[in-house]
Symmetry: C2
């Protein structure tokens, strides 16, 4: 058996020895060993300290044996390099949100090795320490998701400021989205060059747009990202959060994997995006609070739903919640590995 990570085989729709599993936000507050690191450093410092970022990236792999690590970082991290000053209070906060064409013009192109050297170094450190049969996933926010933050200045359930901006100033909004797309393309390329085996784009807030608006505003900027990273020839995962309505717009998107939130069965989502993609997901993060038997039943339902797909990467349908019991995660990882071993 080759040491090619089973995660990468699943992305490529090749035969696998078992269904690979990893968990969004697997390096995080639900882990005592993560909280121990965070006792001494704040979140921002942690993302900018390669040694520590690599350590927390590897913690869940050591404890649970997931099939992939995902770089510990934040989708807001690269915005600083473009000239958007993001603080964490502890939620991300931008003092001067982007509101004008002039501000968009003044944004700098991202030069990852100069602007976010710590991120690139973290990738190198993790890859050097990670077993050959595990994959390392690099990531970035999708342009529209970053746009929501850049224009609104802070997290919001509905991002009304950003959404109104698209109708008020369509040309400026589109220019900002394309600039964000170019920057994320450069950012992801640099991560691949530093050793990331796969790249993931988080469209966390895509579900705020109707399919028409997604096609008109968000998609051209996603295309910019994809054009930039295509030469790297690493598998691409696109997380279409709240995607039930806009998944059809992603039908021709040249990515290898579509990640789906817990709201939409994988089999239904696969029909919407086309049957030629590996699907990632999508257990309800709340299911980890059920009894062991309940958790097994819910996990089995995801496996059953995914049975006919050309490729499946098991994951939660959203980031794991901080209040989750790590023992439930251990049970889930073991269950998926055991049930799918072939």
């Amino acid at each position: 058996m080759s040491s090619k990570p089973v995660f990468l085989s699943a992305c490529a729709q090749e035969p696998v020895s078992h269904t690979p599993i990893w968990i969004m936000r697997q390096a995080g507050r639900y882990l005592p060993e993560y909280r121990a690191v965070r006792k001494d450093v704040d979140f921002l410092t942690l993302t900018k300290s390669p040694d520590l970022a690599a350590e927390v990236t590897l913690q869940p792999i050591r404890r649970f044996g997931m099939d992939a690590a995902i770089l510990f970082s934040d989708i807001m991290t690269p915005l600083g390099g473009m000239g958007i000053d993001v603080q964490f209070k502890p939620a991300p906060y931008i003092d001067e949100p982007i509101q004008s064409a002039k501000q968009v013009e003044e944004l700098r192109a991202l030069t990852p090795l100069e602007d976010v050297p710590y991120t690139i170094e973290s990738v190198r450190l993790v890859r050097a320490d990670l077993a050959a049969d595990k994959a390392l996933i690099g990531f970035a926010g999708a342009p529209f998701t970053l746009f929501c933050y850049a224009v609104t200045g802070k997290p919001d359930q509905n991002f009304p400021t950003a959404r109104a901006f698209m109708y008020e100033e369509p040309a400026t909004a589109k220019a900002l989205l394309l600039k964000l797309g170019d920057a994320m393309g450069a950012y992801l390329s640099a991560q691949a060059e530093a050793g990331a085996d796969a790249l993931m784009i988080f469209e966390s807030w895509g579900g705020l747009l109707s399919p028409d608006l997604y096609r008109e505003y968000a998609l051209p900027a996603v295309d910019r990202v994809l054009e930039a990273i295509r030469p790297r020839k690493v598998p691409l995962i696109f997380f279409a959060n709240q995607g039930a309505a806009y998944l059809p717009v992603l039908r021709d998107l040249p990515v290898d994997v579509i990640a789906v939130d817990w709201r939409q069965p994988l089999s239904v989502a696969a029909e919407l995006v086309g049957a030629n993609k590996t699907m990632q997901g999508n257990l309800d993060p709340a299911a980890l609070f059920g009894s062991p038997e309940e958790l097994r039943l819910r996990a089995q339902a995801v496996l059953d739903d995914a049975r006919g797909l050309p490729g499946h990467v098991f994951n939660l349908g959203h980031g794991i919640w901080p209040q989750t019991d790590p023992d439930a995660v251990a049970r889930l990882v073991d269950f998926v590995h055991e049930q799918t071993a072939r």
Copy 2:
């Protein structure tokens, strides 16, 4: 021409003189005359003062000539009658959220005339003052949406406490949902008896559930509501917020109208719920921030999308935002009336 409200004709899929329009949260903070009333009374007092509640309910009808009024109230209002003490700080807040089987057992059945007499009186006052060709819509929260608040105790983007509770304590969660369903059935029945011409159920948080979980937990409680109000023989509107993934579960729901948020084209939603229902919606609330020309284009796109439906009630795809310019609302109402006059 009869004075039957055109809104009711559209619900019944009868010929209409124009496409009726009303706007979710049309009685609210974007209106100077509403803010003038609120200067002297807080939100809770307003919902419990029939004269004032009737006044703000009628304000948008006077200003814009919408085809339907919706009672000014809050989905949390009836919970007090069940023994769940809701305060507004200003967001709804419950000191002792429901966490145990004992608390669920102790909940009282709702007796609307005793528990929420002010709501019932508001319905009477509005109906007495409203022109015969305008409809009055009564409403309640859907059981699962109220469950989210009752278990979590306050608004939350994800309601993790409520969602985990369903996996932790399935039997207690289901019992609570059914009790909420019975209470909302009684609440809506009383509104119809007092003069409401149509009833609307707001499933604001249904999008937090996978279709399987919606079917297992939320739907049986919705059935309780529908059983209770069916004898009233008034049209029923079901707002399936974030419904793209769970709309198929509503396919056999015996309601007259499905209201759809702005994320999913009405024509696509209609295919999911079955072609025999009137559809309500679904302009993006953000579109009211565009230029008059942009607003017209976006409103026309909704009308075009609805052209093949057996019935259409124009609305926004979500509540109007407080920062909206009332003049944009006037332009929208006039545009829909003029474009669809036949």
